[in-house]
Subunit: 327 residues, 2 copies
DNA sequence: TTGTATGCGTTATCAG
DNA sequence: CTGATAACGCATACAA
């Protein structure tokens, strides 16, 4: 591996000036710069990040903490964050953490593979009781996406309430009156806005929401199936289902199909996320977009301490087969 | 930030000995070790990775190169790799690359956020003509998963041929004789074994494979839909479809359902991957497991230069609704 | 078993 | 505009 010294020697220029060229200083004469750049090419020199980091104390690395699960949501976030980092000249390092260890080990701590300048945490971990002190111990600027619990780090609010309301309004416009919600776990505050949006729409339309119409799910497919069975065993059954995410919506919908219900003629379903599963299902699932790019960009800007004007992009609901029919 | 010096000062022990404790040397007396450990706790000391890296030249970091796509396959790999790294005391850093830049920029090069000791590449990028020289330029030990093209780095072979054969044998056992394949692009060698397995099964059963029965797809959902339309417009139509992956299988299957075909009574489908979509679909999709853990473990061992005995875990086919019925 | 001195590759200080 | 030189935090050869 060639070092900066080698480059200096080969080009006959001092180390300091080579460093200047490397860091894009404008106080270097063009012909000198050219010489240096040629030497760099010839030696295939690449600066040692570790050394640079040691002396500057900065790495320009943001760590994104993701759980050890293969969920579509997380890979979308990874992609969006990587893109956002690139666009501001920073780097993204994805660090997975062991969910089991987090739950079981009282002294659990974030393990970082390399020195970073900031950390970003995703829901629902943004509010996890062991995550907060661990972030604090790191001592790095931290952005907690969709976090709700006050504490260490910056909270990036995600506003799902209005889109959720739009989705339920759509179901109402299709003629549904008894609309049930497959809701997030009651301790998962980050998704609670979807529940509130549901109640907004119902209230605005003067529709009743019996307590039993709100099923607290685990947000997993199986839980959606369970929700469907439970809600359909009520004396007064719902005719439409609004789910906190696509996974539970599909769990409910496929259970309905297996039992012989027709979708959307007999029952309507709407999810949330616009996951590939929602697009590929038959009937395809009505759902709502997640503003991944916007969230990622804002998170990265917050993380690196550049607080730009936040442009709220309008949210979009995606109407598909699972909800489109008159009753 | 506390340094090793601070720890030494506080505990009244020399730097060298503190370093010994940190690196788990066994030549330190227990009471001294205890003192050092207490000082570390009190100061919340954490060794600076950059400094350690600078002097040892090693980072114990493996970089996993993933494209900027949110595909389930990649997130499974990320998870499995992270786990495999942890189990050998190494770290995984996920580095996303810009597919568009890779395709368009003739001088494209892998951009690493931090110094790594090895790199792992996933299919189909393991064989990409711009990936190979870029890996070589990095000069790090590289593992190319499911790679086929000779060149820089180590090739980790993935043997899908036999499972693919089993899957097709299952379709044959269900009474199907005209079985079409939604195949990988002909230049994607990493998935070609699935095609070969299909031909194995057909040949062994003495079944004919007209050229038109092998549709070269892009491996995306829409391409599966296109494949179905094309294959069903043949004078002699297939009754079963074996797809190179779940995405194309679902593309074909949902198209069939939309056109009023019954699955599996009229037509049978099998995919490959065991993705969430395959489980959540209705009818649920017959498919095959991917040995993520095994591949990840082996890749990591190869990357760090520990060549252990490779235990081939048996592959598993997953029989679901989309294929299970007598004709 | 412990302490001291040196160097890893880079940036930054300060004098030319 | 340029060039010596001192850090940065840690590991290690070498000496005690």
């Amino acid at each position: 591996m060639a070092t900066i010294k080698d480059v200096a020697a080969r080009s006959g220029i001092s180390i300091k000036t080579v460093s200047r060229v490397l860091n894009g200083a404008d106080t270097v004469r063009p012909n000198i710069r050219a010489k240096v750049e040629q030497a760099i090419r010839e030696l295939q020199y690449r600066p040692a990040l570790a050394a640079r980091q040691l002396v500057t104390g900065r790495s320009f690395i943001i760590v994104l903490l993701v759980p050890d699960t293969a969920h579509w949501y997380y890979s979308m976030m990874v992609q969006a964050m990587a893109q956002a980092c690139r666009s501001v000249g920073w780097h993204l390092v994805v660090e997975t953490f062991d969910r089991q260890a987090l739950e079981e080990d009282e002294h659990w701590s974030i393990g970082l593979s390399c020195d970073a300048d900031a950390v970003i945490v995703l829901p629902p971990w943004s509010d996890h009781p062991r995550m907060l002190p661990s972030l604090e111990r790191l001592g790095l600027p931290a952005v907690r996406i969709a976090g709700r619990v006050p504490g260490y780090g910056m909270l990036l609010k995600v506003h799902d309430r209005d889109v959720a309301r739009q989705l339920v309004e759509h179901l109402i416009a299709q003629g549904h009156q008894r609309i049930a919600m497959i809701a997030p776990p009651s301790d998962q505050l980050s998704s609670e806005e979807r529940h509130l949006g549901y109640r907004d729409a119902m209230a605005a339309a003067g529709l009743d929401v019996p307590d039993a119409f709100v099923f607290r799910s685990t947000m997993l497919f199986e839980s959606g199936a369970e929700a469907f069975r439970q809600l359909m065993s009520l004396p007064v059954r719902p005719t439409a289902f609004f789910a906190v995410n696509d996974a539970t919506a599909l769990g409910a919908m496929t259970t309905a199909l297996r039992l012989g219900f027709r979708v959307p003629q007999d029952l309507a379903f709407a999810g949330f996320d616009n996951s590939p599963e929602s697009r590929y299902a038959f009937p395809s699932l009505t759902t709502a977009d997640q503003p991944f790019e916007q969230i990622a960009r804002q998170a990265v800007l917050m993380a690196i301490g550049r607080d730009e004007e936040q442009v709220e992009t309008p949210r979009r609901i995606i109407l598909r087969e699972s909800s489109q029919s008159a009753l």
